[in-house]
Symmetry: C2
Subunit: 254 residues, 2 copies
């Protein structure tokens, strides 16, 4: 039986609590023994209050402590833990395991997904990227990760950094392109909803094709007439700059 | 009974042929009477050769002629039709209906989707944007569009131009961001597949949330430490320029 404690009450923490609670219904080898939250009420909808503490001194013994707090708080939280030589991991994509306090054994448990409050996700399909200082600890976090996800990867700190940068491009920046598309629709009294099937299909295509194979559009075809007409159509300077730079990037590298 | 003829043999033409052929199996009010293709064999896998012509003089009478050819060829193809006063539409997102020859009644039948050869799409969910010179013709193309799609919109030429520009942002440019993400993964020996669930979820979120609500990431949080670390991590100058411009755009407008 592996005992797991989660420290944190934000998006990632809540999604992990839900995933572990679901998972332990159908298995006997894992238990979410406790959760730490500064405000206990924040998590009252997810588990009973007797399993939520707001005092580091009340943390019970566990095989794995998952610190799921904002990047800025990881260092401080890990130094607040007043025990030694236990296995403590963070869930951040951007920081190495060295960020954690030296008092305990270190690791990383990074679920690569965009979490929104109140939006249910199927954890089974979320890649979890794992790292630890030694093989024994890796074995523990791997076992835990596999109880909630089918996609578990050993990823070192440099690879995780790369993944996080790549994730900014395919997730944060892509969503920003959706926003620009939405603005252009609004300015011209067209419902943004018309674009939603296209957005879905763009993401679906990449499941089967490489991005190179899937690339279409005026820049790819080097259709200069359409590119010029579209540049003239865009009124916002910032959007025009983005249009030109991405068009050039496709023309030269795409 | 509405008789439809398709002129063209490319991606859009083939997807339309498939959609109409499927549709007329279960209804009696529409018939795909003929298709024009320079090479008849190109379409032999989709319909019987006696319904494919490669000679404009052999085009039979129909209620609607759909010109589904590349943008550059629309003008010439429409002037090759040696009949008058029939309803002729093109399928382009970027050109007004005036591009069509004056000999016939004009319209636009623009399915807003990214079509890839041999990739099956469900036409029922593809928005079709319609325009015509008069209400009677609109009635015909609307009836035809509704036999293959549940999402039919009246869209004028300026709105269609806006949609097409917005589509370049949410489809072509988004796919290019996938490519940059894929390059960063390759350079750092991480499988791009790890990012695929994130790509799916990014597109899924936008079905429920506005892009503003869905925006996350270091630029949105104004997390300058992470932004600086990521800028230092990116080795390719072009990708760095794109990272900086999209980050700024989110910081100031996102």
């Amino acid at each position: 039986m592996i005992k797991v404690t989660i420290i944190g009450s934000g998006n990632v923490a809540q999604h992990l609590i839900t995933a572990f609670t679901e998972s332990q219904k159908s298995r006997m080898d894992l238990e979410l023994v406790q959760v730490y939250s500064r405000k206990r009420e924040t998590l009252a909808h997810l588990l009973s209050l007797d399993r939520i503490t707001n005092d580091y001194n009340n943390l019970v013994e566990a095989d794995l402590y998952i610190i799921a707090v904002s990047d800025d708080a990881i260092k401080e939280v890990s130094s607040n833990l007043n025990f030694k030589n236990r296995l403590v991991v963070h869930t951040s994509g951007s920081f190495p395991l060295e960020l954690l306090d030296n008092n305990n054994r270190k690791g990383v448990f990074y679920p690569l997904q965009t979490f929104t409050k109140n939006t249910k996700v199927d954890f089974k399909n979320i890649p979890i990227c794992l790292e630890s200082e030694n093989a024994f600890d890796y074995h523990i976090i791997e076992k835990v990760a596999k109880t909630i996800s089918n996609k578990v990867f050993a990823i070192n700190s440099n690879q995780r950094k790369a993944l996080h940068v790549a994730a900014v491009f395919v997730n944060n920046f892509t969503n920003h392109l959706y926003q620009i598309g939405s603005e252009i629709c609004q300015e011209n009294q067209v419902p943004f909803a018309i674009l939603k099937p296209l957005i879905q299909e763009t993401a679906n295509k990449i499941m089967e094709l490489t991005p190179e194979e899937a690339q279409t559009g005026p820049a790819k075809r080097n259709d200069l007439k359409t590119i010029q007409a579209q540049e003239e159509f865009i009124t916002d300077d910032n959007n025009l700059t983005i249009y030109k730079i991405l068009t050039q990037s496709i023309q030269y590298n795409g």
